[in-house]
């Protein structure tokens, strides 16, 4: 059996793993990344990137459809159509391009990428089954970056008919009736896209609100838009199973209902991938269903690290990437630690929601500035939504920044920078924001909080 040695062995080439691999390589550490699928992980292959591609295509198609009849812009268009197979091919092309990119970046950093399934023998030894056979890799430092998988409902086991987000992003036909179980961001993003592509979408959520982790103010513009798009929402409803003709059975306060469905998409969350490849035998300390880590992502076993979705919420690519950098630098002897003040989160719903830092609470004050008073929003025919700042009344320290609105995902950078730099309201209010942009609203929100908004 082939045996290899390295300083750092990373299992998983998702955003956490491959970034850790690049950084470790940059720092001169002899590093191997093992990946069973294509490099890039969920994010690049069956998550962030493909979903954004489909959302874009759906938006474009939906826009085209609005030009069929009378419209304010005076554009006329005859029956636009979409070749969804072609759309998917385009989407896959982006993923492939990025796969290749990741492979190239690892190579450039002199980090070896081994295609194969890893199983852990002990904290320093890993067996990898590749197309060429088995090999043993011995390492000084082991980094677990195995990610997460869509969760299944016992009453709705995955099948051709009941699918997860992975399959939903690879459909070659737009389903006529799509039932979605779970009103979190994944279900909403795919559901909205499918609705725009022409599907008849029904979303079933157990909570009394979609996106239950956010407050009602942030969610309302999304709910309004879903209704305009003809999406049916069943709130406080529970999925009970599938009928013989494929319909989704749900129980609501009004009793049992059946929802016709060509496909049932289950998006109730994601579970960490920590079983089936020997992690359990390491007997690592757990934090609920996730692996417990400290501020350098070290687990309870010496020289074994964990990053990304297996370490818990928020399960976001950019968090995993930041962790990957910290682990690589820590192994290289640098004093890096997790000291982030905030992890930004974006829902690519319509309109988009971006949140950074604290949401409103009894201890904080907030100010909210609507896009209805923003010129750029008007020129884009999207005046729904707002920017909100959460701040400490005494020190004027900005504790949180949120927005809901068309295209506000691009404000995530300013928001995160503001929070990490410990900006005060005055810092933001006194920074010139370019006109005419949606970003001006951020400055106006700070002005508003300081009691002297200029444009409202």
């Amino acid at each position: 059996m082939k045996r290899e040695q390295c300083k750092v062995l990373i299992i998983g080439a998702g955003p956490g793993g491959y970034v850790c691999g690049i950084r470790a390589g940059q720092l001169g550490l002899d590093t191997i990344v093992v990946e069973g699928e294509k490099p890039g992980g969920t994010c690049l292959n069956v998550g962030c990137i493909p979903s954004k591609a489909l959302i874009h295509a759906a938006d474009e198609f939906h826009k085209a459809k609005t030009f069929r009849g009378d419209n304010k812009l005076g554009i006329s268009l005859l029956n636009p159509e979409i070749d969804f197979v072609k759309t998917q091919k385009w989407k896959d092309g982006i993923a492939t391009k990025l796969n290749t990119g990741v492979t190239g970046l690892l190579k450039k950093a002199k980090t070896r990428l081994i295609q194969g399934n890893a199983s852990i023998i002990d904290g320093k030894t890993v067996k990898v089954v590749t197309s060429e056979g088995e090999q043993i890799i011995e390492c000084e430092h082991l980094v677990l970056a195995t990610g997460s998988s869509p969760m299944e409902l016992p009453s709705l086991p995955f099948s051709d008919h009941v699918i997860s987000s992975t399959e939903a992003l690879s459909l070659t036909d737009v389903p006529k009736d799509l039932a979605i179980v779970g009103g979190g961001y994944i279900g909403l993003e795919i559901g909205t896209a499918m609705a725009k592509l022409g599907a008849n979408v029904t979303i079933v959520e157990m909570d009394q609100q979609i996106l239950p982790q956010y407050d009602a103010d942030l969610v309302k513009p999304v709910t309004d838009r879903l209704k305009k798009l003809g999406v049916t929402l069943h709130l406080g409803a529970k999925a009970e199973g599938v009928t013989t003709d494929g319909a989704l059975k749900i129980s609501t306060s009004e009793g049992m209902q059946e929802i016709a469905a060509d496909k049932i998409l289950v998006t109730i969350g994601r579970a960490p991938n920590i079983k089936g490849f020997g992690v359990e035998d390491l007997d690592l300390k757990m934090d609920g269903r996730h692996i417990a880590i400290n501020d350098v992502c070290a687990t309870s076993m010496r020289n074994v690290f964990a990053i990304g979705d297996i370490t818990g919420d928020p399960m976001l690519a950019h968090r995993a990437m930041a962790q990957g950098v910290i682990v690589a630098e820590h192994i290289a002897g640098k004093p890096s630690v997790w000291d982030k003040r905030a992890v930004p989160a974006v829902c690519f719903t319509d309109p988009e929601i971006v949140t950074v830092g604290q949401l409103p609470s009894a201890e904080t004050k907030t100010a909210m500035f609507p896009f209805a008073a923003n010129g750029r929003a008007m020129t884009m025919e999207r005046e729904d939504g707002f920017v909100r700042v959460v701040y400490d009344a005494d020190s004027e320290l900005v504790l949180g920044l949120q927005a809901v609105g068309n295209g506000v995902s691009e404000l995530a950078g300013e928001f995160a920078l503001g929070i990490e730099m410990c900006a005060t309201l005055t810092d933001i209010a006194d920074t010139i924001h370019a006109h005419p942009t949606l970003g001006e609203t951020v400055q106006e929100t700070a002005h508003l909080a300081l009691g002297h908004a200029l444009h409202i």
Binding site: P335, S336, V337, D339, R341, D392, S395, E396, L397, E420, M421, C422, T424, T426, D427
Partner: protein, 428 residues
């Protein structure tokens, strides 16, 4: 509505001016009759000035430390009360020159007001270096770049005091911490001790200013001659112990009443020592009564309450009086009588009394006797060393009036009285 003036009342006998030491009101304050509006200080006492009317303060005259003329307008008050109305000054509140008395013999007011002005750097407060650690779990406000810098320097940002907006830690804060880390982080320099930066400006006003003036006047004008002599106080201490053990209800005797008695006895033979010298008039006034100033430390500073007619007091009376006047001085309740009129002064620091001191004359007196601490020392007595209770006295004299010879003779006289205490009580 009337605008009436509240004038600075005559707060002491025969004085023409008083130093403003405290404002209790500011322009715009509503005050009631008998509210205290300010405090002024004369040579001997601090006096609070009550308000005479209900009304609103429209003008205050003078800054803390200014000398105000008796009878000048202290404040103007807008009131319903009847009286001769006055016009507020057109000038800004910050330039209340009219009420300030120019003292002819003194240098410019600015130099007079503040004896030693040291530059204050507001940007480097002396307290910021050894910063308080943050509470467990409290957020550290610092930019990512600064956090990285701190990590690379091995500095725990939780220990760094932030001076930026909202308590944000700035690069300067980190610089300062790196130069002078607190005890919690001794690794950044060898000693682990904080280097302190910055200065603090303390305005020299009130008592302290008075003391400063008197001291510099005495030291500048009077050529001092200081004579130090050692005194064997074994017999005196034995006597004192005996008297104290049998004192009953009487106050405990310290060395001061005995020394006062000795001084009273000594100046009977040396009347030139119990005198005031008025150099500008060219006259020395010798006093028959012996009023002994007792230099006393108070919270406000050095005061010299007076033991009056020490020559006519028995030891326990003197002990009681010294205790009373010292208490009064410390409490700030001493009256003018208790604080003036001394003819000669004793300066004693008790157990802190050192070996030698160089007392400064309490003008216009001509002699001051400093008492140093008592210690058991070996003394050669013919064929052997014996342990004796020894005490030095350090006496200063106005050398313009007192010659060295006379000073030495006077000190020898005191020594002789203290070493053979019975002599103190022998009729002169």
């Amino acid at each position: 509505m009337n605008i009436l003036a509240i004038k600075l009342p005559d707060v002491g006998e025969g004085i023409t001016q008083a130093e403003l030491v405290e404002w209790n009101v500011k322009v715009g304050d509503f005050v009631r009759e008998d509210d205290i509006i300010a405090a002024v200080m004369t040579d001997k006492a601090t006096v609070e000035i009550p308000c005479l009317y209900d009304g609103t303060i429209v003008q205050t005259n003078g800054d803390i430390g200014d000398s105000l003329a008796i009878g000048s307008d202290l404040v103007l008050i807008e009131t319903e009360a009847e009286g001769a109305s006055v016009e507020p000054d057109e000038v800004e509140q910050s330039t209340p020159e009219p009420a300030v008395v120019e003292e002819v013999k003194k240098p410019a007011p600015a130099a007079e007001k503040v004896v030693s002005v040291v530059e204050k750097q507001a940007s480097t407060p002396s307290t910021s270096a050894p910063a308080m650690p943050r509470a467990e779990g409290a957020p550290v406000l610092a930019s990512p770049a600064l956090r990285a810098r701190a990590r690379n320097s091995g500095i725990d940002l939780r220990l760094v005091h932030g001076t930026g907006p909202a308590g944000r830690i700035t690069d300067a804060d980190l610089d300062q911490y790196a130069q002078s880390p607190s005890q919690q982080n001794g690794s950044a320099n060898g000693s682990g001790k904080a280097k302190r930066e910055g200065t603090e400006e303390i305005k020299v006003i009130g008592m302290r200013r008075k003391i400063a003036e008197r001291m510099s006047k005495a030291n500048a004008n009077v050529p001092h001659i200081t004579v130090v002599e050692e005194v064997d106080v074994t017999a005196l201490e034995d006597l004192r112990a005996k008297l104290n053990s049998e004192r009953g209800d009487k106050p405990k005797l310290t060395i001061l009443p005995i020394l006062s008695a000795a001084l009273s006895r000594a100046v009977y033979d040396h009347p030139e020592m119990n005198a005031h010298y008025y150099d500008e008039k060219g006259v020395v006034i010798r006093h028959a009564p012996v009023h002994i100033g007792i230099a006393t430390m108070t919270d406000a500073g050095l005061m010299v309450p007076v033991l009056r007619h020490a020559e006519a007091k028995c030891l326990f009376e003197a002990a009681q009086d010294i205790q009373d006047i010292a208490d009064a001085a410390r409490k700030g309740s001493a009256n003018r009588e208790q604080l003036s009129g001394s003819t000669i002064t004793i300066s004693s620091l008790g157990p802190l009394g050192a070996i030698v001191t160089t007392p400064i004359i309490n003008l216009p007196e001509v002699a001051i006797v400093g008492v140093n601490k008592i210690a058991i020392r070996p003394v050669w007595e013919g064929d052997q060393f014996v342990p004796r209770k020894m005490m030095n006295i350090s006496a200063s004299f106005d050398h313009r009036i007192i010659d060295g010879w006379d000073a030495a003779v006077f000190v020898q006289k005191i020594k002789s009285l203290l070493e053979t205490p019975a002599l103190i009580f022998v009729e002169a």
